[in-house]
């Protein structure tokens, strides 16, 4: 059983990994990846029952869908650090012939990835499908999905939100990364989502909230979410995060959504994130 300090150390290493991966190819999405590093780490190293000896069907395992696929660097690092594939493979991120495509895909047979994502708004539907398959298979494990808040502007999300509540898909925990930022600026300015808590409640979901950059709180809330499954309602966690969390100059702005750090910026960032597990 990992302690909160252990989890924090893993998350720090994941942040180092993803910044180095993005820097190496001068492309990728550091802002949201840094913001969601803690929750992805907590899912794979604490909350989820899963097997790094990957099989596509994932029977008798919890299953995770990254709907906001541009957070690939963070997910790849967590998968590698969980034992799905060699950590050294992180160096191939976004390079020609890599299994670690810019956005995740099972097409290159990378262990841990079951569905392509990148074109936004689709992962909740996928998660519902897998949750339904689990019910048919009498598999009591859970399905998790992670979404950006800007992603909720896609109409398909609301088709899925309506379906999950109406059909009582109660083995599903969807997490919304509420960092309030998207490419063109603050979500409230681009296209405000209004009162998300009220919206999910009105659709019939059990709504929880947490600070996604506080590991003890994330661990506790994931436990509470799990305890609320199988009660006739899907669960959503509205997760406040800070885009760029862990690197002071990347926080508080949307500018680091899809921009790679240069050499000096990488050095400044890594100085704030000490090596904990060893670099790839």
């Amino acid at each position: 059983m990992l302690t909160n300090d252990d989890l924090k150390n893993i998350a720090t290493q994941v942040r180092r990994d993803l910044l180095r991966m993005i820097h190496a190819v001068n492309s990728g999405h550091p802002g949201g990846s840094l913001g969601c590093t803690d929750v992805i780490t907590c899912l794979y190293f604490s909350a989820m029952e899963h097997d790094p000896k990957f099989n596509m069907d994932g029977k008798d395992e919890d299953i995770f869908f990254l709907s906001n696929g541009h957070l690939s660097a963070a997910w790849y690092s967590v998968l590698a650090r969980s034992g799905y594939f060699p950590v050294s493979e992180l160096a191939s991120f976004r390079k020609l012939n890599t299994r670690l495509q810019g956005h995740p895909t099972p097409a290159e047979h990378i262990p841990g990835v079951r569905m392509a994502s990148g074109s936004l708004g689709q992962g909740m539907s996928n998660a519902i499908g897998t949750a339904l398959a689990k019910k048919l298979n009498k598999d009591t494990h859970l399905v998790y999905s992670l979404h950006g808040d800007g992603e909720l502007q896609e109409g398909q999300i609301w088709e899925a939100v309506m379906y999950a509540a109406a059909k009582k898909v109660d083995n599903l925990i969807s997490i919304i990364d509420c960092n309030g930022k998207q490419i063109d600026g603050p979500v409230d300015e681009v296209l405000s989502l209004g009162d998300l808590h009220a919206k999910f409640t009105a659709f019939g979901w059990k709504v929880l909230e947490m600070n996604g950059n506080n590991i003890p709180e994330v661990i506790d809330m994931l436990k509470i979410a799990k305890a609320n499954t199988c009660k006739g309602q899907p669960i959503v966690i509205l997760m406040k995060t800070e885009m760029g969390f862990g690197v002071d100059f990347m926080m508080g702005t949307h500018k680091w959504h899809g921009v790679a750090p240069n050499n000096q910026q990488l050095a400044d960032a890594l100085a704030q994130l000490p090596v904990t597990l060893g670099d790839y």
């Binding site: 569905m115 339904l132 398959a133 689990k134």
Partner: protein
């Protein structure tokens, strides 16, 4: 070889419905999804017998495709059902990312394809769907020609592991493929033998082409009619063998010229065996309201159009 003649009249979508029920009974992993068109897709019997393996998603096709893709994780074989327009154009990106690129075992089953949808008009009459689907890597594209072939195709795609687009229609049309005719994905079915012209037809145009073959025979023209039910992967060998003998080609389909069967065959022949070719298909225009028969005539998809195309292409040989 076998003689193919009319043995009844039924809609192709009923062949899909019957097969789906049979699949439900034979394979507990087969599940079905529908976007508020159970009756139109002839899914009623499956829904009644297997309520736990049926998912009514409402009028939300994007979500349906996404759920279907998710259901494959855990070993299910999902069959989605809605009109061809809402099965393809409306959900192209969902199919592209979650079904084709992710290479999921989803069967996209589309009824009311083409102009024979009839009175509802152009908003519902998609004639671009074969093109849309065949451009996607990993996707198999099938357009059966009658009730029995649709039933056989539905059974066959359950055995194929990977994404499939199965396209069928609304109206009652002649049944002429015997019930026991084997259906092999990607394998053309020769209906008549002839030396003067090769006719490659798919879907509802196969019967029209068969009628045309009889008319041509009276004119002393021996036409070889080959049913291409699988547009992708195309049976290159059957096509090239026939064309090597006849040296001229007519293609016939209820689809746009752009992106359809004729377009696939023209590509193949241009590269391997350049040959005069005429297409019976819709030439870059939207449909309109009318009865299926009226529309087939107005849009040049009738028996007479196949005959005319044959006479024209023989003249070019």
């Amino acid at each position: 070889m076998r003689t193919y003649q009319k043995i009844g009249e039924k809609d192709t979508r009923s062949g899909f419905g019957e097969a789906l029920l049979e699949l439900g009974r034979n394979n507990s992993n087969v599940v079905a999804l529908c976007a508020d068109l159970i009756g139109s897709l002839k899914m009623d019997a499956f829904v009644k017998e297997f309520p736990n393996r049926f998912f009514q998603v409402g009028i939300a096709e994007a979500n349906m495709i996404g759920i279907a893709a998710g259901l494959t994780i855990g070993g299910k074989i999902p069959f989605t059902g809605t009109f061809a327009n809402f099965s393809t154009g409306r959900v192209y990106d969902q199919i592209r990312q979650c079904v084709a690129y992710s290479n999921k075992n989803v069967k996209i089953c589309a009824s009311h394809a083409g102009i024979t949808l009839g009175e509802d008009g152009a908003t519902h009459q998609i004639m671009e769907d074969i093109g849309l689907m065949k451009m996607l890597p990993n996707m198999v594209v099938i357009n059966p020609c009658d009730f029995n072939q649709t039933k056989a195709a539905t059974m066959a795609i359950a055995e194929h592991v990977g994404p499939v687009y199965l396209r069928f229609g609304r109206p009652k049309v002649p049944v002429f493929i015997p019930e026991d005719e084997p259906f092999v994905i990607g394998k053309a079915l020769q209906l008549t033998e002839g030396k003067d012209v090769s006719i490659f037809a798919t879907g509802h145009l196969v019967w029209k082409a068969l009628e045309a073959v009889h008319i041509l025979k009276e004119k002393g023209i021996e036409a070889e009619l080959i049913n291409i039910h699988t547009i992708k992967p195309l049976d290159n060998e059957a096509i090239l063998n026939s064309v090597a003998k006849t040296h001229c080609v007519v293609t016939a389909e209820e689809h746009m010229m752009n992106g359809g069967l004729g377009d696939s065959i023209a590509q193949l022949l241009a590269r391997k065996l350049p040959t005069p070719l005429e297409m019976v298909a819709v030439d870059d225009k939207f449909g309109e309201s009318g009865t299926p028969d009226e529309l087939m005539t107005k849009f040049g998809l009738d028996t007479v159009n196949v005959v005319e195309a044959v006479l024209k292409v023989i003249g070019r040989r």
